[in-house]
Symmetry: C2
Subunit: 453 residues, 2 copies
């Protein structure tokens, strides 16, 4: 029986045109974070399962990890997220590393979820983290980076909003303001996380059921709604506004507004699923009516590095998924036409192999990417192949051209044919390429420069 | 108990300096293969185990795959190699794709082997393949690509040799010339694969034991040695030289010699471990006395695409591993000093945050990668941090500098301090960066241009 040509369920094949879009996205992210001084790291796909037991959300660990035993009996998982891994790397060289430490990674993550639009079992994430800064300057920078990233793709601030909250503030709300114990607090946090996915009445019923009679008597549900309905931090109850974590929120918002991040909102319903957050948290929402949903987010997690037995390191970071980003770019028509990496398709006419080779080598040494046909099919068939590959130029090399030192350069879009030397061809095609960016491979600074505030 | 900071056994963490070397290697490979018109693809890390049962070597499948059952009962493996996957991709779009089709991938592979120098359980490979060319023009090009790749790293042809053979020719030798049956042929091929790892006497004993008495009487071992000792194709027995596959070898060698590949040798002991090869095979050897060993190789495998129930597609390709390449570059002193991606470390003096931000943004928009310290430590501590990170320039911004519009630019190598506008600083640092390549991120054509023959 023939083997199946399908990729593994929930995973994707990337043919060159798909890979081109991925490279465009990853290179744009890379350029943006590098502008802010972030450095790329990487780490194994396999990690011990223990790494996720401590602080990754329960659902991911118990239901979604790709966990198995290796041939040596080690319990390993394909990493479902990168945060525990980067914390491990920092802990391993806690003393040697220089802080503030800015790190990013772009790579695969694996979660066994039900595949659906915007969700794959194998997906990619860009993780961006800053280590060693206790104050809100870290939150300010990280959210600025997230903002710049979307704008580097051509997004305007009308296309997305950034919603901010604080885990520390919500801890105060749940424990002190509402008087919840640990179990109640966790359940209510989870309920808040789902608030936009369920009916309001349903939310009320479930919230009510989680409080004790005495809490109910003290008006817990009403107090909770007072908090959750506060569209601005100033609308929070006085008692909540007395907290340091409240001032942190105001502080981050002021810094970001001064940096021109105008699409920022306070949103007390933002709690984030992972257990490791300890301070400010944020999520970025697509404002497109159809898609209005959380695209990605992050926040402060000061406790993870310390789990490895070293002194803790304050950390703020976020992770953005490739699928969500691609959907965002698509729905806002921000995906540019990406040019193929092949600049020229070389076609040899007659038995000119040896001499034609030299011409091709010269064009390559001048910086062109040249694919040779290598078949002896008819000229028009070879041209059709170039066209099918989306290549813009064909160079035709026969004995006459070799004797003359000038070769036929045909532009497949216009059909125009000219005769030039190999060096002149290289220069014409390079000019053309420069004008027909974006090219997925090496975006220059100029491509990605965005209007600064 | 604290979590371990160790990476998974046989896998590596890549801190920024390690990642920089990896990016330099991968980008150099990318630039080289793109010059020849190869396009990048990607595919899932997980593949069904069946994919490898047909043609990947027995040892890899039975002893080395990371195979497990997913939560839906599917038997999957972390890909130990890429050839079956790329064949699947081509088969899935057999009719739509335009040939010749040139594809490459750079990515992770996983094999449960005993970790040792030059061998990891998680490693990376560059796979380069050309589909759709029946004639030796494909072998010629693929071996040229392999040759150019090493030279793009600065290797000279004295540092490595390319050894060539033909599976088809060896099939003739084993079956027709020596009269072996299938089982014998496979055992002898495996023995030949180990010829340089065992004593010559041991080889003779084992070879002798594999032949039948009548084959022995017909001088099988002597005939085999006649073949294996042939340092040039002309030294092969007359009967073997009458084969078409013999002419193919001569043909490929002539084409490569005409292209200046002078370090080419015929080597009848090259058979390669994978079962899928069907024609010319080759391996690249490091000539360094200490390392003299096979670095990577490839060949023609015309049968793999056909296993997916479509018409077969002739294919030639090779795969090069990251660890072997890094060892080669290291032992030949070809690893350049790689510059950090951060161009400037910005230090703020006093309460100048708001205004200093604008200066930093300006430098970023001019193309610099700028990391801000963000702490209020003493100036010399902040400078020490920049130095520890290997950053070449520090820019110091205080109130006086802001009023003056000129900022202190300090070169950490020389200690020299100058005062310039932000735009002038950007231009100075960009000039410096251009002169201190290679920079791992975006090698330009000029960096990688190699002398063409």
């Amino acid at each position: 029986m023939a083997l199946s040509t399908q990729p593994y369920k929930g995973a994707r094949d990337f043919y060159p045109e798909d890979k081109r879009l991925q490279k465009y996205m990853f290179n744009t992210i890379r350029r943006t974070v590098e502008k802010f001084g972030y450095e790329e790291y990487d780490a194994p796909v396999l990690e011990p399962v223990e790494l996720y037991l401590a602080k990754t959300g329960e659902e991911i660990v118990n239901e979604q990890t790709y966990a198995f035993e290796d041939r040596g009996g080690r319990k390993v998982a394909l990493r479902p997220e990168m945060t525990p891994t980067v914390s491990r790397l920092v802990a391993a060289k806690r003393q040697e590393l220089a802080y503030p430490l800015r790190l990013f990674n772009i790579g695969g993550r694996w979660r066994y979820e039900r595949p659906q639009r915007g969700r794959y079992r194998e997906f990619y994430q860009a993780d961006v983290d800053i280590f060693g800064i206790e104050g809100v300057a870290a939150e300010h920078e990280i959210i600025q980076v997230a903002d710049h990233m979307l704008r580097a793709f051509g997004a305007t601030r009308e296309m997305y909003t950034i919603r901010l909250n604080s885990r520390k503030l919500m801890d105060y709300v749940l424990h002190d303001f509402l008087g919840c114990n640990e179990v109640q607090a966790q359940s209510i946090a989870k309920l808040i996380d789902r608030i936009h996915k369920i009916e309001h009445a349903e939310f009320l019923v479930q919230a009510d059921a989680l409080f004790s009679p005495s809490q109910r008597d003290a008006g817990a549900v009403g107090k909770l709604l007072h908090v959750l309905n506060a569209k601005k931090p100033e609308l929070l109850p006085d008692e909540v506004r007395s907290q340091v974590s409240f001032k942190e929120i105001l502080n981050v918002m002021q810094l970001l507004q001064a940096s021109g991040v105008t699409n920022l909102r306070f949103d007390p319903t933002i709690v984030r699923g992972f257990d490791y957050y300890t301070g400010i948290v944020f999520e970025v929402f697509d404002t497109d009516t159809e898609n209005n949903r959380s695209m990605f987010g992050g926040g402060r997690y000061d406790g993870l590095v310390g789990l490895f037995g070293v002194e803790p390191v304050p950390t703020v970071g976020f992770a953005m998924g490739d699928v969500t980003l691609a959907n965002f770019l698509e729905s806002h028509e921000l995906i540019p036409e990406l040019q193929p990496e092949v600049d020229v398709y070389a076609i040899f006419v007659g038995n000119v192999w040896d001499q034609a080779q030299k011409v091709v080598e010269l064009m390559r040494s001048e910086g062109l990417n040249v694919a040779c046909d290598l078949t002896d099919r008819k000229l028009d068939k070879q041209i059709k192949t170039a066209d099918k590959k989306g290549i813009h130029y064909v160079v035709i090399i026969g004995q006459k051209e070799i004797d003359d030192g000038r070769f036929v350069l045909k532009h497949l879009g216009t059909g125009a044919e000219e005769r030039h030397s190999a060096a002149r061809i290289a220069s014409i095609v390079k000019d053309y390429r420069a004008k027909h960016l974006p090219h997925s491979i090496s975006p220059t600074d100029d491509d990605l420069d965005i209007e600064e505030v």
